[in-house]
Amino acid sequence: MDFTDDQLQRYSRHIILPEVGGKGQAKIASAKVVLIGAGGLGCPVGYYLAAAGVGTIGLIDNDTVEMSNLQRQIAHSVNTIGMPKVESAARTFTALNPDVNVVKIQTRLSRDNILDLIKDYDIVVDGSDNFPTRYLVNDACVLSGKPLVSGAILRFEGQVTTIVPGEGHCYRCLFEEMPPAGLVPSCQEAGVLGVLPGVIGGLQATEVLKLILGKGEPLKNTLLIYDALKTNFRKVRVPKNPDCPVCGGHPTITELADYDQQYCSLS
């Protein structure tokens, strides 16, 4: 890759890292990453991936920006309230780094469109805020063999895990079935510290860059749990479940189901 003078300056702190260099920066520039959700997690993940020079960033979100988002969704602003989140975030990311091609996908993810929407990307990042989407994304990534960096936040606690199909656990090895609707409160019901998605999204973006570069040890077979109140990071070993319904030896899930129906309160 031939860098322009602007790119040499922009990426100089990457290029001088032994683990990155010009070759690593070229890998970042040719990478295609799709973000599920342009909210609390999607904003910092996309922001840092744009800064890092990830060539193509897909944004999937069907919502519009609201005032109540601005406590944590840092790619949006008072000037973009009412605008589709994918448009608002795309403007912010492109302003930071015009090298990045941001693909705006304003739609609601479903079993009918997800495989098609993620097929052209190398890595999927889940920053969704509900269980039906989380399981849909997991199953779609396992079925299509896409690496998935999954993040979740609630109140003062966040989780991150990296799923590389065929090389470790998946989300269903960890939690085989969705919790019943209503058992786990949503952000909307329980609240979330505004900076928490910054920490978890920062970790997710780091995992994405490690996967792109092929460096370090991604959080395979591991769930990282962050407790903001105690400032505690805990790694929990998550072995692959040989009987996992989607990634096990004899899977019972071989195509995508109707996740919302399983989770009726959200339909």
Partner: protein, 81 residues
């Protein structure tokens, strides 16, 4: 030092840190293991920092020489990708 024939030469006079090392690193990345890079520079600090960084990255510094009041020449052999 005079009998070492560089495989590639770059002139980074006028550049300051960190771009001195950025240019030197990109040059050496594009070369084959065992090849020698000659770097001409006029930023004094880089005459010390580039050799140190190149060694940190696993390459061998074959020579550092001051040509005149302003210029230095470094010779670096690429040891690994």
């Amino acid at each position: 030092m005079t009998d070492i024939q560089p495989d590639r030469k770059i002139n980074i006079k006028g550049l300051v840190c960190p771009y001195t090392f950025v240019k030197a690193k990109l040059a050496i990345e594009s070369m084959e293991i065992g090849q020698v890079l000659e770097i001409l520079l006029d930023y004094e600090e880089a005459s010390r920092s580039i050799p140190k960084s190149m060694e940190d990255h696993g390459h061998t510094v074959l020579g550092i020489s001051k040509l005149n009041e302003t210029d230095w020449v470094l010779l670096i052999r690429k040891e690994k990708d």
